[in-house]
Amino acid sequence: MAITRRDLITNIAKAGVPAAVALTTGAEALQAETIPVPSAAVSLLYDASLCIGCKACVAACAQANDTPPDTRGDALHQAPSDLNDLTRNVIKLYKPTDGSPSSFVKRQCMHCLDPACAAGCPFQALHKDSETGVVSWTAEKCIGCRYCTITCPYRVPRFQWVGYNPRVTKCEMCSHRLAKGLKPGCTTVCPTGAVIFGPRTVLLAEAKRRIKNSPGRYYQDRVYGDKDNGGTQALYLSRVSFEKLGLPELGTESVPARTLRWQRRLYQYFALPGLLYVGLVQVIRKSLKGHEQEAHELEKETGLRAQL
């Protein structure tokens, strides 16, 4: 018996429906429960209780990345009030008016294990290195859509608002220096050792050792970045609450894993959209036949050319 087109399509549909459903619902199993830590993950550990707010790291960062000093705030000093298109690293002060403890905070990219900026970036201009885990920006792939400034829960990537060739500025952990065997600029100048550089496993152990040695010294006896937002490669210790320092409590699940779960599942292997498409074609094929027939009947009735 010859296979008609109808048989072929029906058979494909019979096989396709379970396959697509399996791929879509089974995608959860494919999605790793724990986010893998890059093999040679490098890390920054910042202990806010040691920071004296000298801003040497801010100057060193600008020097290491060859950016002109941001003197737009006042014409004399390099004193950016926040991260911006010239500032990858900034020291801010949290000082409550009621006299409770104040704290400095160093803000730079957290290098999340599952970065939201890279999850949203349409053409992979923001990319997490599979070995070092550094999240870096590639000028040749960026279309300047500024979605990273919307998605990053830490509001780190900054867009250059002036000029015909804008860039996105964020800490890239001085990956050009790492390649030469040097440490990131900010960690080379810190007089109190408030920010140190090293492999993530070593620094995480060091942070936990500090908490163990002086219980009660740190907020919730917790390292921010160990589990937060699925884990980050910049680790924080602080005496005051992390939220006051601009590090929101995001839970242990990463932002992309939490918010895009269904989006990812629906588009897994394009199975469901593909199936829907084939189904739509079948329905419309039949509708078109009927519609064409009606149009031609109207043509016969009126003598005016059929309009489809």
């Binding site: 995001l250 739509l280 309009q307």
Partner: protein
């Protein structure tokens, strides 16, 4: 011959708007706005986004994306929503509105995409779109950008071809064999093209909602929900019904054409059901997430929420009432109100209900508004040219015959230009006997 009586109001044929000049005062105003927008665009490309817009580090997206793309492509989803009703659910009367839906969709998408290119800081890198292996497959923005471009350039553009081919067919009888050959080829591919024209907007209109999922808590809890993609798609559906049916009614009013209440009632009924379902889903979602309390805080978020909800609900009620007494006035006002409410809803998560930090503010700059207005004008001007030159607007059969006599007696020089010269009104005109 059993043709319909001459005063029959049923829309049975698309007829160009004849007897009105394309260039008038309003058109010149639109043209001036378009030229201004293009000049300002040139300035924006040289100076960057900062000097021309109110965007800043906290509000990285301005009205070019959040209004011209997010809101106006929702209004321009008629080809998707009405198309699905007509072709998939076989509401046959709605075929009368299809050409209007396809035209408004194409213009809304084309103008939105143009502005998306201007809004991008580094547009020269868009060429990565050609290499699928460079896409970030799970990024909602990649899905929106790629899917929207493909949709507007291929299925939507192809669906808009029949009126153009038809005009060529009437233009010169020597073109007819070639036009008919193209049409045959086109129609054999139509199921595949039309199906893509429903799948792709379904994907990107929902992904527009998914865009703001990644923003997490910075979107106010009244709007931030895992159902945002579905709610965005639903809003686009009833808004586009409002846009297409409302625009058609407005055109009938302006150019003094009869309205087919059978078709309009059909559209209003579907719109009313869509609005009821959408509002139900939205309220259930808000209550289930426990966010209802924030709707009674005395702040701007609650104000925006009630404004959009009341507008959409009032529009729905007016549409429902118009079904009973076939009242065109309440039907039109119902479409306008529900679409306005939908527009505010689509605008809120990115702008009105987006709280990147407590002190962040965004208000569009003058240049930004002028460019946005210029690209809306481009769409409106394109619409005016298209309905006057192509058979887009639905009309009763007698309108076509009226047009024929108009061109024959009032504008005889039209024959000299070639339009209708060899058509049914030329040498090979078949003998149509009219009963009255």
């Amino acid at each position: 011959m059993n043709s319909a009586p001459i005063d029959d109001n049923r829309w049975r044929r698309a007829v160009p708007v004849y007897g009105f000049p394309v260039i008038n005062g309003f058109f010149l105003l639109l043209f001036a706005l378009i030229v201004l927008a293009f000049v300002l665009t040139g300035y924006r490309e040289l100076a960057g986004l900062g000097p021309v817009s109110g965007m800043n580090d906290a509000f990285g997206w301005g009205i070019w994306k959040t209004f011209n793309v997010m809101v106006l492509t929702a209004l321009g989803s008629g080809a998707f929503a009405i198309g699905i009703a007509a072709w998939v659910f076989r509401r046959k009367r709605l075929h009368a509105l299809m050409r209007m839906a396809l035209l408004t969709s194409f213009l809304a998408y084309a103008c939105g995409l143009l502005l998306l290119g201007i809004d991008a800081g580094r547009p020269w890198n868009f060429y990565w779109m050609v290499f699928p292996w460079k896409w970030n497959m799970h990024s909602p923005l990649a899905e929106v950008a790629i899917c929207m471009s493909i949709y507007a350039m291929i299925p939507l553009a192809v669906e808009n071809l029949p009126p153009v081919l038809e005009r060529l067919w009437y233009f010169d009888s020597r073109l007819r064999p070639r036009v008919e050959k193209i049409e045959r080829g086109l129609y054999s591919w139509f199921p595949w093209i039309i199906a893509a024209a429903y799948l792709l907007p379904g994907m990107h209109q929902s992904s527009l909602g998914a865009l703001m999922l990644l923003a997490g808590e910075r979107v106010h809890p009244l709007w931030q929900t895992p159902w945002l993609p579905l709610l965005y798609l639903g809003a686009a559906s009833f808004m586009s019904f409002g846009c297409v049916a409302g625009t058609t009614m407005l055109c009938c009013l302006v150019w003094k054409r009869p309205m087919d209440m059978e078709v309009l009632d059909d559209a209003a009924q579907i719109t009313w059901w869509l609005i009821a379902g959408w509002l139900g889903l939205r309220l259930i979602d808000i209550i289930a997430r426990g966010a209802l309390g924030t709707a009674f805080h005395f702040d701007r978020f609650a104000g925006v929420f009630w404004l959009e909800t009341i507008l959409i609900a009032a529009g729905g009620v007016l549409l429902w009432r118009s079904l009973k007494d076939h009242d065109t006035r309440s039907m039109f006002v119902g479409y306008v109100l529900s679409s306005l409410g939908g527009m505010i809803y689509r605008f809120s998560p990115t702008t009105l209900a987006f709280r990147p930090n407590p002190e962040a503010l965004y208000f569009p700059a003058t240049v930004e508004i002028l460019v946005s207005l210029g690209f809306i004008s481009l769409g409106v001007a394109g619409f005016l040219v298209a309905v006057k030159r192509l058979a887009i607007l639905p009309a009763p059969l007698h309108a076509w015959h009226d047009m024929a006599s108009y061109f024959r007696f009032r504008r005889p020089y039209i024959r000299w230009t070639g339009y209708f010269k060899y058509g049914y009104f030329g040498e090979d005109e078949p003998k149509v006997t009219q009963s009255d």
